[in-house]
């Protein structure tokens, strides 16, 4: 029971950690895409003479 309980706990921690990691990956992807979009629009505006 002790071992099973420990494994269940580890499983929960792993799931939790994977979920958080996945969320962080999506957040990073969003930030990078936003940065690309900002650079794109800045380039367009600067080429327009501003």
């Amino acid at each position: 029971m002790g071992l099973m309980g420990l494994m269940a706990m580890n499983g929960e921690n792993d799931d939790d950690r994977k979920r958080r990691q996945k969320f962080k990956n999506w957040a990073l992807l969003t930030a990078l895409l936003a940065f690309v979009a900002v650079v794109y629009f800045v380039s367009i505006i600067r080429m327009g003479g501003h």
Binding site: A27, V42, I45
Partner: protein
């Protein structure tokens, strides 16, 4: 340079830091930080005042800027300030764990590994400086880099743990944003933007010393040589009074230089006087409890002071706003009493 190296060793990797590193390794495995922890690293509350003063400098500057580029400039100022805050939290994680005010931060709570916080801060610093240079101009980017470097190396690493004058010299880092905003529009630095810098520079010591007066136990626990801890409460109160007396006339200078209008000048004069009166109340408080109460009032008012003055700086530039109307009336001699004060014409 050697001082900086010593600072790095004693703060981040020295005896205190090493003791803390053990708990970091155990409690916070690599990659464990949540997005909310990363946001907390950016010190959002500090960032709000930085963004606001940066925007005010940008808005008050002569010239025009494409709205998208203006938004990018403000974003760069915000992200850079947050990044410097993250590096500050990485370096100060040992003393943050000792103070009530800071022990809830992500690193003392073991929410992430220290190197994650450092990498986050460095990457955001570099990205924001590069973007400012590409989108606006390299003068603004250079000032942004200077502000970041000043906060991290001069204030956090060099001065904070060494001298009670830490906040006086280090306060320059927080004074850069309006100058950066101004440079983003004009591409340079002039007397107007320098005066906005000076305003925050002189405002910073009484603001932080008022906080330190009622948080002195916290700073003493962490062995941070804030003025009340090292020189005592009486000396701190004298210094607060001195800086308040300097700040009151300095606050009016943007109106005298033409950076802001009459409404700004009038409000700055009244609020400067209130600042001095509150500083006097701190000085004259009969007991320690009364002194703490007065210091809290002064601390709260100092934030209001800066917010109101920079708001009026923005209002003065907005077309058709009250100050513009008021200035017009004074120019036309329509305002009762304007001639009496030598304001007409």
């Amino acid at each position: 340079m050697s001082d900086l190296s010593v600072g790095l060793g004693s703060g981040a990797l020295g005896a205190d830091g090493a003791a803390f590193a053990g708990s970091d390794a155990g409690a916070a495995p690599r990659g464990a930080g949540q997005v909310s922890d990363y946001l907390a690293l950016l010190k959002p509350r500090v960032m709000s005042l930085v963004v606001f003063s940066g925007f005010a400098g940008l808005y008050a500057a002569p010239g025009t800027l494409h709205p998208f580029l203006a938004a990018v400039a403000v974003l760069c100022i915000a992200v850079n300030a947050g990044a410097a805050g993250a590096i500050n939290m990485w370096y100060e994680r040992d003393i943050d764990a000792l103070m009530d005010r800071t022990r809830g931060r992500p690193l003392p709570r073991g929410k992430m590994a220290p190197q994650e916080a450092l990498a986050f801060g460095v990457v955001l610093s570099l990205f924001s400086i590069m973007l400012m240079g590409m989108a606006l101009n390299w003068t603004a980017a250079g000032l942004l880099a200077l502000a970041n470097g000043f906060y991290v190396f001069v204030y956090t690493i060099w001065l904070k743990r060494r001298t009670p004058q830490n906040i006086v010299i280090g306060g320059a880092a927080g004074a850069f944003p309006p100058m950066i905003g101004w440079a983003a529009v004009t591409g340079g630095v002039d007397i107007h933007s320098f005066m906005l810098f000076a305003l925050i520079f002189i405002w910073t010591p009484p603001h932080f010393w008022a906080l330190a007066l009622y948080r002195d136990i916290d700073y003493a626990k962490a062995r941070v040589p804030m003025l009340p801890v090292v020189a005592g409460r009486a000396a701190t109160k004298r210094q607060i009074m001195l800086y308040s007396l300097l700040l009151a006339p300095l606050g009016i200078m943007p109106a005298l230089l033409g950076t802001a209008g009459v409404l700004y000048g009038a409000v700055a004069a009244v609020m400067g006087l209130c600042f001095v009166l509150l500083a006097a109340a701190v000085s004259r408080a009969p007991s320690e409890a009364a002194s703490d109460r007065a210091a809290r009032q002064l601390f709260g008012f100092s934030i209001l002071y800066l917010f109101v003055l920079f708001t009026l700086l923005i209002v003065d530039r907005a077309p058709g706003m009250l100050s513009g109307v008021l200035s017009g009336m004074i120019q036309a001699g329509e305002l009762p009493g304007a001639a009496l004060f030598g304001l007409a014409g």
